[in-house]
Symmetry: C2
Subunit: 395 residues, 2 copies
C-alpha cells in the first residue's frame, strides 16, 4: 500500500490522466455544487491535433454519441473534424451548432426509415448499411444516396465488442455493394469497427487487410470505392495501459500503404472516446460513509444511472482514476471502498475495492478522471437525481 | 413449440398480464409514432384498491421512483395513497401535482444534506436512516424530525436484492433509535426491504418477526414506535409465476397479529412495481431484421438505454411478455429472436431467444407487456434516441 502514497494511487497504473488544467488541486478549489463534469476544451483541441499528426491521411469524424456537449461539437468542428451520428436526434444537435449535414456520416447500420428520410432532406448523403434490408430501406426513402458497408472484423481485443450486433461478413460485402448499385445507390465505401476501447493495434491491420481484399474483388465488378472508414475504438487511458495514438497511427499508416489495392479518395475514422474521455473529470460529493457487513461504503451524489453507466457495464474490470479533495490524500493510509451512487438501487454501485484515504467522510469530494466519454450520454434522472451539469474551465 | 401457437406464447407462463384495455388487438390499432408506453389508469386505480383489500391494516405509500408520470401520481393520490421518495427531485414532482409533503416518507437512507433541509422546509417530517452518520446529518439540517430505522433483512427470495447497500443490523437498530432520541429526533419507526420483485412470502414474515423483536427491546428503553413500514418488493407478473397480493396479504396480516408486541398507530408499505408494472405496455417498431452469425436479430426503436434498462440488469432471467402487431401472430410458426435496441451499443440488447412469428419484418410492431415500472424512470437519450412518450388510454 505504501506505493500508493505518492502519485495517483494504485488504481492508476498508467501515467496520470488528469488534464493539466484539471488537477486535483484545481478541482478542490471549485466551489460549485456537485455533481458536475469539469472539462477542458483546450485539451479536446489538442487531442484532435495529435490525432491528425499521428494519422495524417485520416480525417476524424467525431462520434457524437460519445459526448454531445455543444462546446465539444464546436471545438471538434473548429479543428476541422467531420462527424458521425447514430440518429436524426444527433444530426439535429450538430445542425444546432452550425455543422453542415453534408459533412456528417450516418454510421448506425440499422436506422429508422423516418430518420434516414429526414437526414437526407437535411443534406446528409452518406449512410452505412450491412444488409440487403437496410439497402432497400435507404433506396426507398433516400434514393441515390451513397452507402458504405460495415464489415464484421475481429473485435476480441476491445473492452466493448460490437460485432455480434453489427457487420456483414466480408464475403457478403461485395454482394451488398453490387446490390446497392442495382438499387440506384452509390457504392461509396467500406467501414468496420474493431470494438470500443481497443488495445490491440493488430486489430486495425487485420481489418484494413480485410477491406483491401474486398476492394480488390470489387475492382473486378468495375466498382472503385471512394471512402474507407476505419471506425472507432481508439482507446483512452483509464486504469490500464493502452497503446498511444502514435503507435496505432504507425500500424494504420503502414497497413494503408501495404494492404490496399489503391488509396480511396477519402480515408476517415470515427474517434469518440479517444478524443474526449481524458479531457474531463467528474466531481462528486460523499453523501455518507457507512460500514456494511465489514465493507467500507462511500455513497456519492453521482452513480451509474445519472452519469457513470460504464462502471456498471464493466463491473470489476473498468477502473477510472480516483482522487479526493482531502488535504491528507497521499499522506494518510488508503483503504479499499465500495463506492455507490445516490439512488435506492443496489445496482447503482460503481467501484469495488477502490483505494481512497482512510479519513474520507461526508462532504469530501471525489474526483473521477477520464470521465469525458460515455458518461452524460447515458445519464437519466433515476430516483430524481438529474444528470450532472458540465462546466468547462478557462485557462 | 406448438404449445406457443395459442395464448401468449412460451415466454409467458403465467396468466396473461395484458391489461383489459391494452390487448394486442387494441394496441395494433393505435397509429401513434413509436416507441411509446401505453398505460391504463383505471387498472392503476384497481391495483391500489386490490392492495387495500388484501392488506386492510396497511396504508400504501407509492414509491415514486418506479414511475413518476404525473397521471399515475394523481391516480395514486385519488386512491388515498401516501408516497415515498428517494430525493428532493421526487418530492418536487409530488408537490407539482398537489401532494402534501407531510404525507410523504423519505426512505432513501443516505441522503444529500441539502435534500433533507429542503424537504423539511417543504413540510416533509419523516426520514429513514440506517446509521449514526445519517442521524447526525438529519439532526443537523432538520432538527426534531421523525426518523425510522431501516433494518437489514433476508432478501434472497427477490430478483433485485438491496441489503448489501442498505440496512442496519437488527441488533444495531435499538442503539440507533436511542441515539435518535438523544439527538432530539423523534424515534418514530422501523422499516425494511425484502428486495425488489420478491417471490417468497416468508420473507415478509421473517422481517416482521425481526421488527417485532426490536420493538420489544425498545419497550425496555421506554420507546414505543408509531410506525412500522413494510417497504416494497411486492411482485408484478412478468414471465414467471409470482404469489398474488392476497397470498402476501394473508402472510403479512397474520404476522402482524402474531409477531408484534403491540400494533403501531401506522403500518405502511411502499409498493411501486406491484401497482404499475402490469398497467402499461411498451409499443416499439421493428427497424430491421437481420441474420447475424446464424442468429435472427430484431432491431427495435426502443432499447435498454431509452426505456428497458431492467432487461440489461437481468440478462437471461427477466422475461417481459411479448406479442406483435402481425395478423398472423398465433397462426404461423414462432422462432427465437435476439431483440436489440436502436443504438450502436451491443449492450443495448434486451432479449435472447424471444419467440415471435417467423414472419416478423421491418415496420411490424412489438408489444412488451408489464412495462409500467422501472422503464421510463431509467431512460436516457443515448445515441440521440429520446425516451418514449407515455399515453394513457380512455375506456
Amino acid at each position: 500500500m505504501t506505493a500508493s502514497l505518492t502519485g495517483l494511487g494504485p488504481i492508476l497504473e498508467t501515467p496520470p490522466t488528469w488534464p493539466e488544467g484539471l488537477t486535483p488541486e484545481v478541482l478542490a478549489a471549485i466551489e460549485l455544487p456537485t455533481p458536475f463534469l469539469a472539462g477542458d476544451l483546450r485539451m479536446v483541441a489538442d487531442r484532435f491535433q495529435r490525432f491528425a499528426r499521428a494519422l495524417p491521411r485520416v480525417r476524424a469524424h467525431y462520434a457524437v454519441k460519445c459526448n454531445s456537449a455543444p462546446e465539444i461539437l464546436r471545438t471538434a468542428s473548429a479543428q476541422g473534424a467531420g462527424f458521425e451520428v447514430a440518429s436524426i436526434g444527433e444530426l439535429r444537435m450538430l445542425q444546432a451548432v452550425g455543422v453542415d449535414p453534408a459533412d456528417v456520416l450516418y454510421s448506425n447500420t440499422v436506422k429508422p426509415a423516418a430518420h434516414i428520410a429526414q437526414a437526407a432532406e437535411a443534406g446528409l448523403w452518406r449512410f452505412a448499411a450491412d444488409s440487403e434490408g437496410e439497402l432497400h430501406k435507404i433506396a426507398r426513402v433516400a434514393p441515390g444516396s451513397a452507402v458504405y458497408i460495415r464489415i464484421r472484423v475481429d473485435d476480441s481485443g476491445s473492452v466493448f465488442p460490437l460485432s455480434r450486433k453489427f457487420g456483414a461478413e466480408a464475403h457478403h460485402a461485395r454482394a451488398l455493394l453490387q446490390e446497392a448499385k442495382r438499387l440506384g445507390l452509390q457504392p461509396y465505401g467500406l467501414t468496420f469497427h474493431v470494438g470500443s476501447q481497443c488495445a490491440a493495434t493488430s486489430a486495425w491491420r487485420q481489418a484494413i487487410a480485410s477491406a483491401g481484399r474486398i476492394m480488390r474483388n470489387l475492382q473486378q465488378d468495375g466498382i472503385r470505392l471512394e471512402m474507407l472508414d476505419l471506425g472507432g475504438g481508439f482507446p483512452a487511458r483509464y486504469g490500464d495501459a493502452v497503446p498511444s495514438i502514435e503507435q496505432i497511427g504507425d500500424v494504420i499508416e503502414s497497413a494503408l500503404d501495404e494492404l490496399l489495392p489503391y488509396e480511396p479518395l477519402l480515408i476517415v475514422a470515427e474517434p469518440g472516446r479517444h478524443m474526449v474521455a481524458e479531457t474531463a473529470v467528474m466531481v462528486a460529493s460523499v453523501l455518507g460513509r457507512e460500514e456494511r457487513a465489514g465493507e467500507e461504503w462511500l455513497y456519492l451524489d453521482v452513480g451509474a444511472y445519472n452519469g457513470l453507466m460504464e462502471t456498471q457495464q464493466t463491473v470489476g474490470q473498468w477502473r477510472f482514476p480516483l482522487w479526493s479533495s482531502r488535504a491528507d490524500h497521499g499522506v494518510v493510509e488508503q483503504v479499499p471502498y465500495t463506492v455507490t451512487g445516490p439512488s435506492c438501487d443496489s445496482s447503482d454501485t460503481m467501484f469495488y475495492g477502490a483505494p481512497l484515504p482512510v479519513t474520507m467522510s461526508e462532504g469530501d469530494r471525489v474526483f473521477i478522471a477520464s470521465a469525458g466519454a460515455y458518461t452524460l450520454s447515458y445519464a437519466s434522472s433515476f430516483n430524481g437525481f438529474p444528470p450532472p451539469a458540465t462546466y468547462f474551465i478557462e485557462r
